[in-house]
Symmetry: C2
Subunit: 145 residues, 2 copies
Amino acid sequence: MMQTVTTLAPPRTAAERAWGLLFQFVMSLDVYWDELSEELGLPTSQAHALIVLTDAPVPMSHLAGLMHCDASNVTGLVDRLEQRGLVERRPTPSDRRVKLVALTSKGRRLRDQALVLVARPHPTIAALSAADQKTLHEILRRALS
Amino acid sequence: MMQTVTTLAPPRTAAERAWGLLFQFVMSLDVYWDELSEELGLPTSQAHALIVLTDAPVPMSHLAGLMHCDASNVTGLVDRLEQRGLVERRPTPSDRRVKLVALTSKGRRLRDQALVLVARPHPTIAALSAADQKTLHEILRRALS
DNA sequence: TATTGTTATACTCTATAACTATA
DNA sequence: TATAGTTATAGAGTATAACAATA
């Protein structure tokens, strides 16, 4: 009788093998997020908001969409960002129900700083050869297209 | 006089270009984590704990290390996992200060289910050609080594 | 004295439901 | 009626500091 495999089956397909390593890398990034937030002096969610906001003011509900969270969260989130002087609420003349979230000049400066931090290649990627980095970029471009 | 560039500099090096796309992909994964947690019927942090736990019981402090969080968090986390019957606390005879976190049989079943879900290639990776998947795996293997 | 886990505290994030003011 | 944002509520994650039991 054939021996029965008692452990979970190992990855088989190329997709499973690639995803397995990518998942492992993604799992290791929680430290990266914590460091990023600390460098900015913000909780992770506020840092997240800062990164997705642009110079164009957006309705509260749109920010919720960008952050994939419920609109009710955005009220408190924007409250805290406003307390730090990073954003301000603006009325919308055409529809008085809508409030726009706009980065202040202080908010834009910190957002720019965040983008600089985020642009720094992760050590794991920086350590790759230039050829691997180029190939990785090409594959990811195809993956995200 | 040369024209001054007023926008942020675009990515230059191969590392910056590769990391830029990888960062973009990672940012898109919050939906993935939410779906994963929902499929397991657990909050994300409890799902995280389940994934990092093995059949070998570990001290509370070791679980904190695995999850990169403060030991004080683990008390409540294990409380909630214990309420669901997924883990149990066990004494350590050799050092009565130490408590071991051990998966129950129910916990092991859900952990196995979690590993199956996690092993499914992400759609973005699944859509790549087999050649790209193979190359991606090789590059990630070098990156993570 | 040092360490493990717990508790107390404070802040933050998150979703659901009910509410308000507009439309 | 429907929508945008808020509030109330409840549960959960997070770090710091102080604490009890043990080493």
